[in-house]
Amino acid sequence: MFETSIKLALTLSQIGAVMGVVLLTVAVLTLLERKVLSWMQDRMGPMEVGPYGVLQPVADGLKLFFKEDIIPAGANKIMFSLAPIIVLVPALIGFAVIPFGPNWTIDVLGVEFKPFVISDINIGVLYILAFASIGAYGVILGGWASNSKYSLLGGLRSAAQLISYELNVGLAIVGVLLLAGSLSLVEITEAQAGGFWNWFAFDPLPFPQFIAFVIFLIASVAETNRLPFDLPEAESELVAGFFTEYSGMRFAFFFMAEYANMILVSCMSTVLFFGGWHAPLPFLQAPGMFAWVTGIFWFTAKVYFFLFLFFWIRATLPRLRYDQLMRFGWKVLLPIALGNIVVTSLLAYIFPN
């Protein structure tokens, strides 16, 4: 009983810490995105609240918190309230299997405890994919329950888009799984130790997964509904799509889910293709006791690199048309992803490590 309660306390504090960091990052990202976009467009961005506008997320949060919560006439009240929750929970729950530091097991009062991953389950990748696919329900239901044509169109577009691109995310990962020989994100990270030439995106033997990495990146941009794949919410044609009718905290939930998904996808790219917490060069990693300091540093640096990439893409590319989006997903990405699996498995069979 004592051991169980210790374990519970440890796990709960770990979940609290990870959720705290993720939600804080979401707040930082809302500001960072506006700032980065502004700099790319030769503007200043938010400057009013606090020095250089750094308190803007606080102001935004307070504003959304005090806004009136409107449920449109004729809307399905239960589904309308449920949809933002169904979107946000899967986006946050995926972080449970992301390893953000060395794979250590420490002993706390007789209880084994892994400080740098909440739960090392042996199907980590599938766990994230499973919950990512649940997020689509929130989007469809939100669009349907709003009792608005624009919302319904946005929801349906998004359902088609999410199903199409989920497939590409899953297939792009298969090559990595073949090389790592495991579905556990901890073991996939361990398989990439030793320097950037061992990361799956660059590893020359048996086959570099760089193509798979590019497919994963494109498909995950589509999965998170970001430009140039933001058709479900296309501001200029659908008036924000499935969350047109949402206001106040419910709107904030959709907004937070989008950013949490971005962080989750960036974490996945880091773990699957860019070596997780491993340093790019062996001497950049602190030895022994202090490996976790550099580990967390490199993990964060890589995740922020990918998040910057998201903003960069948004500032650069125009939105695709709906038929182009579908054709690109099914006729371009899918064959390349399948070809990558065939080539990788053949070469992995011929040159086993």
Binding site: N122, A130, L156, I163
Partner: protein, 168 residues
């Protein structure tokens, strides 16, 4: 504890499954089906079949049910036009399934399935063991299943291309 967890999952599965049939609004039916899929996945987790649980959610909840919802929303069927004439077929199938369940219960006795104790701390995860069994013992059924899927895929392509070919 295991019995308690099983009873919870079983009760919710039965309730959600009956709600799928009973509820008037097809969207609510689809959502109770979603709840049911999740609890079936939970049942797999208690039996240490995590791989099956994840696949259950990815395939059924993530892909098939979303397509159902998609179709239901696009059609937006009026209450009178809904198809409700499947009573005799349902009765027949229900009797068959109930007999089957009763026979199984009588021959096996009412016991709760427990995970294989040797599997729990095994170094080989259940993903590996499923792969090994699937590509050796059950290779033939696996190939048959892939053939059926191929036929279905070709059928779907032909059906969707039908209009285009005729108009030319």
């Amino acid at each position: 504890m295991a019995t308690f967890v099983f009873l919870y999952f079983a009760a919710v599965i039965v309730m959600a499954a009956s709600l799928v049939v009973v509820l008037r609004n097809p969207i609510y039916s689809a959502l109770s089906l979603l709840v049911m899929f999740f609890h079936v996945a939970g049942l797999y987790v208690t039996l240490h079949a995590e791989f099956l649980a994840a696949i259950q959610i990815i395939v059924y909840a993530g892909a098939i049910l979303v397509l159902y919802l998609f179709v239901v929303m696009l059609l937006n069927v009026k209450r009178e036009e809904r198809f409700n004439q499947q009573g005799p077929v349902a009765l027949f199938l229900g009797v068959v399934l109930l007999t089957e369940a009763a026979l199984l219960a009588v021959s096996r006795g009412f016991t709760v399935a427990t995970p294989d104790p040797g599997r729990e701390g095994a170094a080989v995860g259940n993903t590996e063991s499923i792969g090994e069994v699937l590509y050796s013992t059950y290779l033939f059924p696996f190939e048959i299943a892939s053939l059926i899927l191929l036929v279905a895929m070709i059928g779907a392509v032909i059906l969707s291309k039908k209009g285009i070919m005729e108009s030319k």
